[in-house]
């Protein structure tokens, strides 16, 4: 009998345990199990309403402005019918104990229910202006000089629709804030001077070594009369391109070719008054593919060997900016088209032949070809080549150089009291359990 009584006691204890466990083990309601993320919904609603800056405009309007009514309609229309809202706008104050001061509030329900989610959104007035100070290339270390070939006595090719001088002006505007010294090389004589290692301006920051030289003549390159024309005339001036490669290596230049086949012609109006580039442009001499091959030989300090093999490839379809280039588009605020045609892409085989590496991909590699990149020699000197089809987009050259040197932007903003608003959108879900 005692055993039965003991068992009954055990049953009572277990029953008690079950009842207590059931009381405390409160299961969540279905809404809590699978809730709509109201916080995210609130944030994305605010972003949607501000996609065209309408929200930014409205929150700075007086409370009796009709745009508040439009905002209320838009909020009601864009949220699902079972979602209620309360949107409150605060002015951000500085220098006071009360940082946030409410300016207006919109709501479509007296209560938001038991389950709510809220998101905040900071809006700056259009009166707020932002500015930045760029780091100048060469501030930390040598170099920092940009030479733009603006030679009045040389012509361009494959820069259809532009002149070399116009491109040079655009490049100056784009890049001069980023270099310690930006020097326009006004004629081929000045080009000869810097090739000799002599500065051509009174700018104290001009420095031949580690400079960047941009050839704005497209597939043509200006050639100085005298020594360089004499020494470089061998093999239809392929030897001049070889000397340019040597100088690039000697001074650790970055030579930039903006479009097409680099160094395909040499140009000097006075030197070639009666010779034309086979397309009717006088003052120009055809070098053909030997120009680039010779330049690369000179850059790699190889002995000069005449080589007129065509090495570039014409790529089908479009070529696309590399993800790194796209990042720097946003960073520097320059937005060339992300896809281009490339009919003069350099082959990857030059990397081993001329001891080059590619620190900067402007365009994604396509098969065995590089539509746009910076090629740096293992010892010294570099070539930026954009093997794109004419006409050139000079912003791509600027982007490539900025992407390569990565000068930092020191951003600063000018703010004032009453120029910022915080918008809080709180959402509640009605109906259901």
């Amino acid at each position: 009998m005692m055993r039965t009584v003991e068992v009954l006691l055990v049953i009572i204890i277990i029953t008690g345990a079950f009842i207590i466990a059931s009381i405390y083990a409160v299961l969540p309601t279905p809404r809590q199990v699978s809730p709509i993320d109201l916080r995210r919904l609130a944030l994305t609603t605010l972003q949607t309403l501000d996609a065209s800056h309408d929200l930014s405009n409205t929150v700075f309007q007086p409370v009796n402005d009709t745009s508040w009514n439009d905002l209320n309609i838009a909020l009601s229309a864009c949220l699902p019918p079972n979602i209620v809202y309360n949107m409150t706008v605060y002015e951000v104050q500085t220098g006071t104990t009360q940082v946030y001061n409410m300016t207006n509030s919109l709501s479509n329900a007296a209560s938001l229910g038991v389950s709510t989610g809220a998101a905040s959104y900071l809006i700056a007035s259009s009166n707020v202006t932002f500015s930045f100070i760029p780091e100048r290339i060469g501030e930390r270390g040598g170099g920092g000089t940009l030479y733009i070939l603006n030679c009045s006595d040389a012509y361009g090719w494959w820069i259809t629709g532009y002149t070399a001088q116009k491109l040079a002006e655009d490049l100056y505007n784009l890049l001069s804030p980023y270099f310690q010294a930006t020097i326009m090389v006004q004629n081929t004589t000045q080009l000869g001077t810097i090739l000799n290692g002599t500065t051509i301006s009174s700018n104290p920051y001009e420095n031949i070594a580690n400079a960047v030289v941009i050839d704005t003549c497209g597939e043509a390159v200006p050639i100085p009369s005298g020594y360089y024309a004499t020494q470089g005339s061998q093999d239809s001036y392929a030897k001049y391109c070889y000397i340019l490669g040597q100088k690039t290596r000697l001074y650790n230049w970055t030579w930039a070719s903006i479009v097409g086949y680099p160094l395909y012609y040499v140009s000097n109006a006075a030197l070639f008054p009666s010779s034309q580039n086979t397309w009717g442009i006088y003052g120009m001499q055809l070098v053909a593919p030997a120009g680039l091959n010779s330049f690369l030989e000179g850059l790699d300090n190889q002995p000069y060997v005449y080589n007129d093999n065509w090495i570039t490839g014409s790529l089908a379809g479009s070529v696309y900016l590399s993800s790194e280039a796209q990042y720097y588009c946003n960073y520097y605020g320059t937005y060339p088209s992300y896809y281009q045609s490339s009919s003069r892409a350099l082959p990857t085989s030059i990397l081993t032949t001329y001891h080059l590496n590619v620190p900067t991909y402007i365009f994604d590699q396509s098969g065995n070809y590089l539509p746009g990149a910076v090629y740096r020699n293992a010892v010294s000197g570099a070539l930026l080549a954009l093997g794109l089809t004419r006409s050139p987009d000079i912003r791509l050259t600027a982007l490539g150089l900025l992407q390569h040197y990565k000068p930092r932007l020191y951003r600063s903003d000018y703010n004032a009291v009453g120029t910022s608003r915080v918008v809080i959108l709180q959402l509640g879900q009605m109906g259901g359990i």
Binding site: R3, I14, I73, A77, C78, L79, P81
Partner: protein, 409 residues
């Protein structure tokens, strides 16, 4: 002794019975709690997955306006941050809603996002991204099933209030939860002329703007339409306080024989112009159809700007049904979203107008992508407000587990 034994037997029997009963009761409570936990895990996964899809552009970044299959899936517009989606990536998703069509002249089957007669978006399966590929790229294959719906928030429905003399069209603008009272309506009215040069049709455009009333309604009157035999199209953009939507309406006089635009190549913008008989097999006899294609862009002020097509890229042409009758080809000359407008002419009295969005947002097309969710035991959903080329959309993801009835998270 016997009494003690009976006491033991009774006590043991009662004890075991009670124990089994309580084990069952506790087990039921635990099972319910575990199931709730698993459902909760699916809901969390749904939220994470939706953000994963909407907040990254995928790789290659610009896979939308190209022919490549992405190696990482995402729908964000690569030129923006936040919840802004690429109109071209959405266009390449294999549609769940429309019935695929087969076009024998290319031998390809096309994903169909047609929104009604005259509003086509047909993408070849070879260019469209299918569900299994996306499921693998997202890492959900064999573990979760999902369905993604991207639908415009603003619905602009247009109907004929009076068919002619003058034509009066009723425009009704509503959002998800409320009419768009006082919305600003910008519209473009295209009237088809079948008397163009060389028997090719043409169209004229007129623009206007008005406001919706407190019920989101507006009536537009076009005095130039004096009879029922004039084909036209109306494109309306509605916007209020950052919320933008659009709608369209067409009337044609030839709805059996018409042209159908089929996307052929995303990277070059190549679009094939097919005769409707080749797709729907209505059978002979048929008439040759001439067409005149134009591409229009939506500008910042919600007007449409024409981007002329060269004759060399197929601005005008003629198509017919059957073997030996090649399809027409047009090339869209820009990478920006817009609308391909094709007027067609069957005879001097019969013709019409066809619209095709280049980028889903250009005509606020809805996109349904993924697997069928009917019959699933537990489906978690989550929503986000997004913009596609400034048109407001709502993205809705439904997610369920594929790991058995017990729904493992």
């Amino acid at each position: 002794m016997a009494g003690s034994t009976i006491d033991h037997i009774v006590a043991l029997t009662v004890f075991l019975a009670a124990l089994l009963l309580f084990i069952a009761l506790f087990n039921q409570t635990i099972q319910t709690a575990v199931l709730y936990q698993e459902h909760r895990a699916i809901a969390s996964k749904c939220t994470d997955l939706l953000d994963n899809i909407l907040l990254n552009p995928g790789y290659p970044t610009y896979w939308g306006p190209s022919n490549v299959t992405p190696t990482s899936f995402g729908l964000q517009d690569p030129e923006f941050t936040q919840y802004r989606l690429s109109p071209f990536s959405l266009m390449r998703l294999n549609s769940l809603s429309g019935t695929p069509i087969y076009y024998p002249k290319t031998g390809l089957t096309y994903s169909n996002i047609t929104m009604g007669f005259g509003d086509f978006l047909l993408v070849p399966y070879s260019e469209a991204i299918n569900y299994s590929t996306v499921s693998q790229l997202l890492g959900t294959n064999n573990t979760y099933g999902f369905q993604l719906n991207i639908a415009p928030i603003v619905t602009v429905s247009i109907s004929e209030f009076q068919s002619s003399n003058p034509l009066i069209l009723s425009v009704n603008v509503t959002g998800k939860g409320f009419p768009l009272a006082s919305a600003n309506l910008s519209y473009c009215f295209l009237t088809v002329s079948l008397q163009g040069d060389g028997s090719y049709p043409s169209y004229t455009t007129s623009y206007g703007s008005t406001y919706a009333d407190e019920k989101g309604m507006a009536f537009l009157q076009f005095a130039s339409i004096t009879d029922n035999s004039t084909s036209y199209a109306l494109i309306v953009y509605a916007h209020i306080s950052g919320l933008t939507g659009m709608g369209y309406h067409q009337r044609v006089t030839s709805d059996q024989q018409y042209v159908m635009p089929l996307i052929d190549d995303f990277s070059t913008g190549r679009v094939l112009i097919a005769h409707s008989y080749d797709v729907h097999y209505f059978g002979p006899p048929v008439a040759e159809i001439s067409y005149n294609a134009t591409f229009v862009l939506l500008t910042q002020d919600f007007s449409l700007r024409e981007v002329p097509l060269d004759n060399s890229t197929g601005k005008i042409g003629k198509v017919n049904y059957g073997n030996g009758q090649p399809y027409g080809v047009v090339t869209i000359p820009t990478g920006n979203p817009g609308i391909l407008v094709i007027t067609y002419r069957k005879s001097a009295n019969e013709g019409g107008i066809i619209l095709m969005p280049w980028g889903v947002s250009a005509m606020a097309f809805e996109v349904a992508f993924g697997a069928d969710m009917s019959g699933k035991e537990w489906v978690a959903t989550d929503i986000r407000e997004v913009t596609v080329n400034n048109v407001a959309y709502q993205a809705n993801l439904a997610l369920w587990s594929l790991q058995g009835y017990q729904v493992k998270g």
